[in-house]
Amino acid sequence: MLEALQIECQRGDQRLFQGLNFCLNAGELLFLQGNNGAGKTSLLRMLCGLSEPVSGEIRWRGENIRRMNERFRGELCYLGHQNAIKEDLTPLENLMVSTRLHDETLDEDAALKALVEVGLSGRAELACRYLSQGQKRRVALARFAQEKRPLWILDEPFVALDTQATRWLSQVIGAHVERGGLVVLTSHQAIDIPAGRIHPLFLG
């Protein structure tokens, strides 16, 4: 499903990696590891199509993602380093806005349920700027409680989360892989995801 062929990545003058190949099929998880500055985030951004590899190509269902454009992005769900939430909006508004921007429909009850699931019950109507770092991360992750798109690309999803939220997220990712979804994630901690085939990939 998701293939990387001879990917080369450069940052400034420095070559981070070259000749990187992998193939990820339905129901599999790619666990990307590497030291700081090894190019994990750069690789994830290439897989999303946000930046282009210096050479090589990335294919989704056998087709180059450059040519697929919107069709590829419609099957992708990306969580970056930044939470992409608005400090001025409440968690509920943030969740509704981000799902709508991704062309999905989520009614308010489902959104509230997702927020309860990530442990933000009672905080749904509070502006996000009053939330802690971990709670903001949970707002960003709430989208994944209902997310049905096949490919998830997660950049350090466990950062700032407490043990309870970490367990919840592991379960959500596990369930997604069980359903036949694909996940690419980076983490510096060991992950404990209950299902699916996990391919580790070490950069650098």
Binding site: L50, S51, N69, E70, G74, Y78, A84, K86, L101, D103
Partner: protein, 222 residues
Amino acid sequence: MFAFIAHVIRRDLSLALRRPADLVAPLCFFLIIATFFPFGIGPEPELLRRLAPGILWVGALLSTLLSLPRMFADDFADGTLEQMALAPYPLGLAAFGKAIAHWIVSGLPLALLSPILGLQFDLPPDALCVLFFSILIGTPALSGIGAIGAGLTLGLRGSGVLLSLVMLPLCIPALIFGSGAVDAVMTGISPRPYFFLLAAFSTGSIVFAPWAAAAALKISLE
């Protein structure tokens, strides 16, 4: 597709309403510019009337410039712009929605304020009316062209100055046709040709500029 644009507009408007100070600042700036000119020039109604269209139009242009750097900056800083680039629609549509939202919170209030400021210059009623419509029709061009400038200067240091250098020369047609319309009605000729030219310029800018802005944003995001 239209639903997506509507979502972007609604989102930007609700964010703008949470920060009323950002909305009011450009309007105060416009008010100050328009108020200070009569002080500086002196109480000569004839001269003030002659200068009014140009002063008010330049004032509107500079006030628009004040709010432009924030068009993409906040979304870029918190990662929302990245998510918009990954939405299953072209980034140009998001930029188009953002330019429209920018016009609603900046161009529209400026147009509403302009007839009141025009009174300070002793403009006749028909000139006030033409002034209102010329700013109403002309400001979408400023939001559209401004989106290109804001996209190009995103994440740069001293982007405000660079933004004005990029954007202001491109806005000259709006300035000429806009103040020309007001001049025309005061000298007794029809402002219609000016309105048509201004509307054409505005429509062209607001439709095509967001795609150029999107190309600039993609470079900033890489």
